[in-house]
């Protein structure tokens, strides 16, 4: 019952013109970003981050969060109509969604995708509303050793689930820790890796880093390719609502996707992408007609699309309650909250309840807005798909330039962004995943602080990490993930399939 009171409080906080307006802007941009291939929610949030400093922290995070879950809705539109995933979590939607479109059922595929996303998103939010406060209360008992162990676990899971080589993912995590600790040491004020300049004394800014790594590098990747015109399926988008038979085939996949996506979203490294893959596999296994998967089975659209939306709600649990992001998007959101001076974590519920409950309640309203936006405006999104990339990429670059410059009015920040743009481009060419790096950059300073505090508390003895049962359990899982599971054949095949799917993007 207490949770209902808090939810009412949250709705009172956000039911005002500004928060509602920015929620709408966030979900609109999120859908747009999801529709446009080549520009994912990470890049979009990076691009808009500097502009959010002109409004309040609550309104900023509402908008940025709206981009995240809005992109899940938008990604399915391109997957169904063009057979290209608008963003990573819609890869599996291409398999059956496009086949449905070829059979003249594009409307039903788009409709079930939007409705399933709404149901699952709402279910995920209910889970978030009831699970987050008790988890935050438990986390208040954590000390530096527990925090250090959980951060290591978060990084390890992300590395384990990153598509491709674990060695490369670990290298990225190590590099991220190094970049995250550039600047003045918080305890001794000793400058580290500043190369004698004042630009890096405050560390590497999150904004130039993410805009370079994800925004500029993506532009570079697309600019070097010879363009092929995207062929949008010319199909009549009649009948956006599925028929009764399609509803019958979808309702249980939506329910299963909602639960599965939510719990997978909580796991660091889990998130929308993994949950959509797992949901597809489960639906195919449980289906009475598995042979229809890949040929236009509606369950193959309903389940994964529900799972990826529910996962976005689940991803907010470790972010808001522990202050530990579970993927690149929430890592940037964490960085943004720190920059607004409202750090996420167990004290957020008590110290910033308006922001904590405001974010959660805004997501309920955002999901309704998305359902309203997606169904009637599908024809508009199809038109947007026709914007040629030679027109789009200069606009993306311009937003990056203005965004970075607007922070401190320094051109040195632009140069830093361009350097990271080149780094991000090379990372993608050599198949290094950026997610472990960004997570490590955001967590790096906190890990440094927690580690040093722990060792100071114990007088230098690492035994402190094994005295706490939570620490011990967490470190055991880390050891399992790093030294046992990667050598099991079934796990190796699963990780390899993740890598192959992510390379298709």
């Amino acid at each position: 019952m207490e949770t209902l009171d808090y939810l009412l409080y949250g709705f009172r906080v956000i039911l005002h013109p500004m928060p509602l307006f920015f929620c709408f802007i966030g979900v609109l941009i999120g859908t747009l970003v999801g529709v446009l291939p080549g520009l994912g929610p990470v890049a979009a949030i990076s691009l808009l981050l500097p502009f959010t400093f002109h409004v309040s922290p609550l309104v900023s995070v509402i908008m940025l969060a709206g981009i995240y879950y809005g992109a899940m809705y938008g990604g399915s539109i391109t997957a169904i109509l063009v057979n290209i995933p608008g963003e990573a979590a819609s890869v599996v939607t291409c398999l059956d969604g496009y086949q449905m479109a070829l059979k003249g059922r594009a409307g039903a595929a788009l409709g079930i995708s939007a409705i399933g996303s709404f149901i699952a998103g709402t279910a995920g939010l209910i889970g978030l509303s009831f699970l987050a406060p008790p988890l935050a209360a438990t986390a208040l008992k954590f000390g530096p050793p527990e925090y250090f162990a959980i951060m290591i676990l978060g990084l390890t899971i992300l590395v384990f689930l990153a598509g491709g080589s674990m060695i490369k993912a670990l290298m990225m995590a190590s590099l991220g820790l190094i970049i995250g600790n550039v600047g003045m040491d918080i305890i001794t004020a000793q400058p580290r890796f500043t190369f004698g300049t004042t630009i890096l004394l405050d560390g590497v800014g999150l904004v130039p880093l993410v805009m370079g790594l994800f925004g500029i590098s993506e532009v570079f990747l697309n600019v070097e390719q010879s363009l092929k015109t995207q062929e949008i399926l010319k199909t009549d988008l009649k009948g956006l609502l599925p028929n009764l038979q399609e509803w019958k085939e979808s309702i249980f996949p939506i329910a299963r996707g909602s639960v599965l996506g939510f719990f997978l979203g909580i796991l660091p490294g889990g998130g929308a992408v993994i949950s959509s893959f797992v949901s597809y596999g489960i639906e195919r296994k449980l289906s009475r007609h598995p042979e229809e998967f890949g040929k236009g089975a509606i369950a193959g659209v309903a389940g994964p699309e529900s799972a990826n939306n529910s996962a976005t709600a689940g991803a907010f649990i470790p972010l808001l309650t522990l202050g530990i992001p579970s993927n690149a998007v929430t890592a940037i959101l964490l960085g943004a909250l720190m920059m607004y001076d409202t750090p996420a974590g167990p004290r957020m519920v008590s110290q910033h309840p308006d922001i904590f409950w405001g974010i959660i309640c805004s997501m309920y309203i955002g999901n309704i807005m998305l359902l309203v936006l997606n169904l009637p405006l599908i024809r508009l999104w199809v038109k947007i798909l026709e914007i040629p990339y030679p027109i789009l990429f200069p606009l993306i670059i311009l937003f990056c330039l203005i965004g970075v410059y607007s922070l401190d009015s320094r051109t040195s920040e632009i140069f830093l962004m361009l350097i990271f743009g080149v780094v991000g481009y090379m990372m993608k060419k050599f198949k290094f995943d950026g997610a472990p790096l960004i997570l490590a950059v955001v967590l790096g300073p906190q890990m440094d602080k927690s580690l040093r505090q722990s060792l100071l508390m114990s007088g230098g003895s690492p035994q402190i990490f094994f005295d706490s049962p939570i620490c011990l359990g967490v470190l055991a899982v880390v050891a399992l993930l790093l030294f046992v599971l990667p050598f099991l054949p079934r796990v190796t095949r699963f990780r390899k399939s993740l890598g192959e799917e992510s390379e298709q993007l």
């Binding site: 002109h54 600790n181 580290r192 390719q225 200069p394 607007s406 050599f430 060792l455």
Partner: protein, 156 residues
Amino acid sequence: MKHPDQYAGIFGFIVGLFVTISSVFYGIGSFSGPGPGFITLLAGVALTILSLILFAASGRRKLPFQGLRQIWEGHEPKNIVYVLGLLVVYTFLLEPVGFLITTFFLMVLLFRVQGNYSYKKVLSLSAAVTILCYIIFVQFLGVQLPRGVMGYFLLF
């Protein structure tokens, strides 16, 4: 010819070694009083060792490789060099010349990178984008963008 991962391994090794040595100079302290270089030492050592593993593992692959050339096969990396060059020049000129002029010319040149649009279309689109961005970001959002040589003319 080396596998591309071997080049990545060499680069990672150099970076890791640099970080490790620098961390020692910053002072690693002791377990009871870790210094500023403590965590970066751990990360640097990890990066160095992982890079060596990557180098060794990729060297054992049996397929013939074309080295770095295979990464850029079928692509036009000269476009990237051109775009990057434009952005570097833009950044140098942004403050002395001003946002409006530098952005207009940047947009003209960028719109012509991949598309075969007429100069009339490119010039009008560039002007429209530049002015619209100025109005939205400077007027509405209050972002401070450099006026440069236009400072005397822009009274609002």
